[in-house]
């Protein structure tokens, strides 16, 4: 009986959260056509979310490329697939690892920061302060973050993919004696524009998901400073789950 009640409460909580994020998303779209949001706030977000994440994202991407080649060492050696290394690395990085790993990194850095920032503003009544000045918190706080996160994550993923491919090609040259020409020509001859499009679409979707999640949990924070911690935690967990779910469906649908 108690287990049933617990199960029920989890279901209710989950529905509230999914419904809440969906409603927030609807409110965001209503303010995007025509676009009504704060330009100064948008530029600030773009700077802190995109530019300031650049170094950590490049570092992550570089390591991803290196590890990918190290992991494939055994197979490439055993089956003598040196000519296919570029294609293999490109396929995995562009279609899957790049968007997903960078999105998780982004959610840990930018999503968590946004949830903490909006959460603190909510519990210290700064958000109410804005509403009192007849400023709509969604146009002023949420929409700029939403657009900035989509743009930031998409561009960061493009940059990150490139860095990961370069590091893979360098590592392939050093470890497996695959020269750069072989690497890049196999990559470009086997990959289609659709693969690049998939990468961009995925990262834009992930950016949107992380933005809506972090803003929803941030703005629905209750219970003072400990509540902010709870919101940050929820943001990171739910963003990760949502990224994987959306990754699954988008790979399925978009091929």
């Amino acid at each position: 009986m108690q287990a049933l009640a617990q199960f029920g409460s989890i279901i209710i909580q989950l529905s509230t959260q999914i419904g809440g994020t969906a409603m927030l998303l609807a409110q965001i779209f209503r303010r995007l056509a025509p676009p009504r949001f704060d330009g100064a706030e948008f530029r600030k977000c773009l700077f802190t979310m995109g530019y300031k994440s650049l170094s950590i994202m490049i570092a992550t991407a570089f390591v991803v490329g290196v590890i990918l080649v190290i992991q494939s060492f055994v197979f490439v050696e055993r089956y003598g697939m040196r000519s296919q290394l570029g294609w293999g690395a490109g396929f995995v990085i562009i279609r899957e690892l790049g968007p997903v790993l960078l999105a998780l990194m982004f959610s840990g850095r930018v999503g968590a920061f946004t949830a903490a920032e909006l959460g603190t503003m909510t519990v210290t009544e700064q958000v109410d302060g804005l509403r009192c000045l007849a400023i709509d918190p969604i146009s002023y706080l949420v929409v700029p973050r939403f657009v900035a996160m989509i743009i930031s994550l998409t561009s960061l993923t493009l940059i990150g993919n490139t860095v990961a491919l370069f590091s893979a090609s360098i590592m392939g040259d050093l470890m497996l004696e695959v020269d750069h020409h072989t690497f890049w020509s196999s990559l470009f001859s086997m990959l289609t524009p659709a693969d690049f499009m998939l990468s961009v679409t995925k990262s834009a979707l992930f950016g949107g998901i992380i933005a809506v999640n972090s803003c929803f949990f941030g703005l629905s924070t209750t219970g003072g400073a400990p509540g902010v911690g709870v919101s940050v935690n929820k943001t990171v967990v739910f963003s990760a789950i949502a990224v994987f779910v959306v990754d699954f469906y988008s790979t399925f649908v978009l091929g």
Binding site: D128, G129, C132, L133, A134
Partner: protein, 250 residues
């Protein structure tokens, strides 16, 4: 003019306001007292249009806040200044920017005019020279004063102060209440102050309302409230050590 009629607000299963009715006439300085958690902050939020009541009617300057459009609500809110219980200062803005923020949002004054008015407002609350500090480098009392300056910078027709004195020493607390009384005296606007400094509040208010379990159980002039025969009122005022003339330890 503010009129609340039988207002009910609940958060989940918790009732915050439970059939509260209140009339505040223009130019009054209404002091609101009551035990913790009785609904004082919720009352302030209802008046400033931040919380919609579940039942009941709220009229501010003849606008029904429950039935008006978003635009109408914004028009009403422009004329209400709120000082929140947690200061609600924008932490990334300096003291001066915090105070001038409502002006940049709600008025079309030039930059120098805005700055002039903000500096003047800061001087009124005794914070001249603090213009370029960030809020996290202020003491609790100084933060309250910045919040007060920001709440009244646009000279709103209604000023709502939620616990401007909480957690302050008695002297600072009295100074802040005196500042509020000064603002009321200069502008002749309606002021609503929630405070746990009951003695200070009685000394500045024209009327006092006592909130108890989400209802207003007494609302009258300070003298009448002091003489009230209701058990709860007497007990609350006794606990606040109010009319104990000649009280000593022995």
């Amino acid at each position: 003019m503010i009129d609340l009629l039988d207002v009910h607000v609940a958060f989940g299963e918790q009732d915050a306001l439970n059939g509260l009715s209140l009339h505040v006439s223009d130019g009054a300085l209404l002091g609101i007292i009551g035990p913790g958690g009785c609904g004082k902050s919720t009352l302030c939020r209802v008046i400033s249009g931040l919380v919609q009541p579940d039942f009941g009617e709220v009229f501010v300057h003849q606008t029904n806040l429950r039935q008006c459009s978003r635009q109408q609500l914004h028009v009403v809110q422009r004329d209400i200044g709120v000082q929140f219980q947690n200061d609600a200062l924008f932490e990334h803005l300096t003291v001066l920017e915090n105070v001038s923020y409502p002006l940049t949002r709600l008025t079309t004054l030039s930059c120098s005019e805005m700055e002039g008015r903000s500096v003047e407002a800061l001087a009124t609350v005794g914070l001249a020279g603090f213009e370029n500090r960030l809020p996290n480098r202020l003491s609790g009392g100084q933060r309250r004063r910045v919040a007060l300056a920001r709440a009244c910078i646009t000279k709103p027709r209604i000023l709502v102060c939620d616990e401007p004195t909480a957690g302050l020493d008695p002297q600072t607390s009295r100074t802040i209440l005196d500042m509020i009384a000064g603002i009321r005296y200069q502008t002749k606007n309606t002021v609503i102050v929630v405070s746990s400094d009951v003695v200070g509040l009685f000394s500045i208010s024209s009327r006092i309302a006592l909130v108890w379990n989400g209802q207003i159980i007494e609302e009258d002039t300070t003298t009448k409230v002091r003489q009230s025969e209701r058990a709860e009122v007497k007990r609350f005022l006794d606990d606040a050590r109010l009319p104990f003339a000649g009280w000593t330890w022995d």
